[in-house]
Symmetry: C2
Subunit: 529 residues, 2 copies
């Protein structure tokens, strides 16, 4: 079922002559399938089809969209072991993780299906007319959220299913009524190819317009650049590095018509360990964090890369415990030789800075493409003056910053770049003694965690995955949970529009029985004429 | 009460040596007050104060913020005739308009006060813990909207009260908990100065932190540029020209930390007049539109600058009627000699294009700074190939485009730049024969109007004032109505956070009795432990 080709709407297409293969990091060898990169003409064709499809797809009912999303989920399930094997062969990740991520992907698709089938998500808001109002009559005005147009999705290297081809961005965009063009991730193009086939099958089975989805291969940056620059593309979703995300953001901002780019980028996820917690639980915390730092070979955007604490004997003990615990863990495979290379380069860059001490380093030989975990430590004042130490080292790496006192801790946090998460490890009630530290932390992150680990992002409505730049390019949106649909919609008002020509969501009858705000009151009632 | 100085928080300050005066276009002479431009140091001081004030102001209760907003409204009322006279002297607009706009400004402030006093606007969303969930326990996660930080507001030349110093952007930002720095509009710096004094008085009376508001004078672009580039500024609101808005957008996008800019810019507000309506009501429509085009000397962002119709005898009659009606109207004063100059320049630029015919031109002598209204006509095919004809001519000007047929009409609409509004003038049921025209129009605008005029923007929850670029820089937000608060907030999650340390809105007790989404259900109940 792997084609090695692009999906231009429902058609497979391979008109180009640039090809590439994916890589099996566990076997340390290339995989067999040859993927053909999309040409400029194919990209143009895909975007034009998407723009054409938008006319129909943008007005399709929530029930039909739900059917489409649920069928995508079914078709992904139907790919069964073929998909799981492909996933593992392109990532070096174990089968359990592949299956877990598939479950998450399907869960996301179905939760968006439920959202749009129910329908209240459009935030229908109606102010009825007051024809006799003085000095001027008031018009009837009705507002709802509508899709913005074709969306380009760049998949994540570290989530080949849940944040790639049919991942969170795609599910949210399709749910909103926006056609999607996926720039397939070159490290897992085969997984993407299979998932794309599932989406296309689902689109055909449920009668969606051709062009509602396309999947474009490339190993370089040109295909992505052409997509983001195309005048008919109206928004971009991206998960990946700061460098990549910022480049796309800059490109989109330079267009004649700038478009929104939601890029979820790097984060070092500071963890503040308060003194009493450290004193009473340093061993337990060390063990928990040794696991969190190495989980998935440290390849999570919520990996705890920065541990902050005030100097004390307990901190010294904690560093010792953490070092001992972390080297007990067996190294695991990274996603790709290039990811491993990046890990080594960035780690060495940080270690080579003045006054950085390596306290734990898995020193035995590791298999090719496996990552040796490392913990380093540095004084607060060094961290404050050297921004190279704030670099995200993508992999099983963490830095313990030893602060002189509470005010240095607060200053370090206040001067951090934006982050996805911030965590506080505290004894009962201890946290209430640190209001300015907590307030500084809140100001730099999208989610704050009490006595837990930042890894493990629950997919639910209350989740925020995003944060001040550079955690994401626009902290006003989340990339996870049903509210992520808001990235791809805009409010639209109808003034004095004939009832029979309004979308169902805004008609007097309220045939969908959705919750609406009518003259300031939330209700699922109809409007009596 | 006019100081001519800057407000750096609660202090008046005039450290610079660059000064300017405002202009009375009706009397065609400068006004007396000398305004001192803010210096780089004053700007820096104001932003630092705002950033400091944010720490306290961001966590202040909705009740306290409402008191602040209502007191601003009271203080504006207390300025009484001083404000109205200043407004008229700086704009050439009549007293009735000044009073109407003051009413709107006060109404906006009070509606945001009500919004935040009630409190449900934070979209509190709670997913309770499931400690026994398999395979992994579920954390307690609670989300709400929080302010993003200091906001810079650029006032509009054409709304010295409702979209300037204490206008929609400021009211929304203060309501959300963001300190505001206003870059005062140089054409109505005196009006801004008075309103700033009202805000500062209200801030002091209600115990707001110093720096919650600053007002900075300037006649050039440097002060604005410095504000937008300042690392501690977190968002920008702007109402004005495409050139000005785009320059700020570009500046913000180039920052190390890019920030959102919501700019409401130009629009020519297409009006589609369908054939039967034209046949049956051309005289009435002509009269209505002669008034809408000249309302407020055509200085509204929703001014109907483009009338689209299919060629017919009725269209010929309509053009004749419109021309006759519009020259019956007495010309009125423009806001400033520079606005008048822009009107003349842009009008001449459009008229000088090939195949543009002037069908109405108020040819008698007009007073200095008064605008002569003009209507021109052009064939659809000319309009399609010459984008200069799409230029916004800010003033009492409109262009009638004569289309060959329905498909040319649709093509013209589909190729328009983004617009704030689109209007359809139709006989009963006629509109249902034009689904593709309507769908094309919807795709290019933020609000669609049936048998009305685009001028007159109702301030209500269902209103969308914004639209695809360049109507605004981000069509996902509105600049009018309570939902405009969403431009200045971001979602924030607390995971397993101690109940007593959560903001009131997320605590189990729900002491504010706001509506929240708890485990997927909308309720204003508390959570039982």
């Amino acid at each position: 079922m792997t084609t090695g080709k692009n999906y231009i709407g429902n058609q497979v297409s391979a008109k180009g002559n640039r090809t590439f293969k994916t890589f099996n990091p566990e076997l340390d060898q290339e995989n067999e399938t040859v993927f053909t990169e999309a040409t400029k003409e194919e990209i143009d064709e895909a975007v034009n089809l998407a723009s054409q499809a938008f006319k129909e797809f943008s007005t399709i009912s929530g029930t039909k969209k739900a059917e489409f999303l649920n069928t995508i989920a079914d078709e992904i399930v139907a790919l069964d072991d073929t998909l799981i094997q492909m996933y593992c062969s392109e990532t070096g990740l174990p089968e359990g993780r592949a299956k877990g991520e598939r479950g998450r992907t399907i869960g996301q698709l179905r939760s968006f299906a439920n959202l749009v089938a129910e329908g209240s998500w459009v935030e229908a808001t109606i102010d009825t007319a007051q024809p006799t109002r003085e000095p001027l009559p008031k018009s009837d005005i009705r507002k709802m959220l509508i899709p913005i147009g074709p969306v380009v999705v760049f998949g994540a290297s570290n989530f080949p299913l849940a944040y790639s081809t049919a991942g969170g961005d795609t599910a949210a965009a399709l749910a909103s009524g926006c056609p999607v063009l996926v720039k397939s991730h070159p490290m897992h193009a085969g997984t993407g190819d299979l998932v794309a086939s599932a989406i296309v099958k689902a689109a055909q089975k449920t009668g969606m317009p051709n062009g509602v989805f396309s999947n474009l291969n490339s190993s370089g940056i040109e295909v992505g650049q052409q997509l983001v620059s195309h005048p008919k593309v109206k928004a971009v979703g991206f998960t990946g590095s700061i460098k990549g995300g910022r480049a796309l953001y800059d490109l989109a901002a330079k267009r004649d018509e700038p478009i929104p780019v939601f890029a979820e980028m790097g984060s070092i996820n500071p963890v503040v360990i308060l003194p009493k917690a450290l004193e009473n639980r340093h061993q337990e915390i060390a063990k928990t964090y040794a696991n969190s730092i190495t989980l998935g070979t440290g390849q999570f955007c919520t990996n705890p890369g920065l541990l902050l604490a005030i100097k004390s004997d307990s901190l010294t003990n904690f560093i010792k415990n953490l070092s001992e615990e972390i080297i007990k863990i067996n190294p695991s495979c990274m996603l790709h030789p290039n990811i491993k290379k990046g890990y080594i380069t960035n780690k060495e860059k940080v270690i080579s800075q003045e006054n950085v001490s390596v306290v734990a380093n898995f020193s035995s030989e590791v298999q090719n493409n496996y990552a040796a975990q490392t913990v380093v430590t540095v004084e607060g004042k060094e961290f404050l003056k050297n921004s190279t130490l704030h670099l995200e080292v993508f992999g099983p790496f963490s830095m313990v910053v030893q602060c002189e006192n509470k005010s240095e801790l607060e200053m370090i946090i206040a001067n951090l770049e934006g982050q996805l998460t911030g965590t506080v490890i505290s004894d009962t009630d201890e946290v209430s003694e640190y209001p300015t530290v907590i307030s500084a932390l809140q100001n730099r992150v999208g989610r704050i965690i009490f006595n837990g680990v930042p890894t493990g992002v629950e997919v639910c409505e209350s989740m925020v995955h995003g944060g001040p730049y550079p955690a994401s390019t626009d902290s006003r949106f989340t990339a996870v949970g049903i509210n992520s649909i808001k990235r791809w919609v805009r409010p639209f008002s109808y003034q004095d529009w004939p009832n029979n020509l309004l979308p169902k969501e805004l008609q007097n009858e309220n045939s969908m029985a959705i919750f609406r705000t009518i003259d300031g009151v939330k209700t699922n009632e109809k409007i009596n004429e």
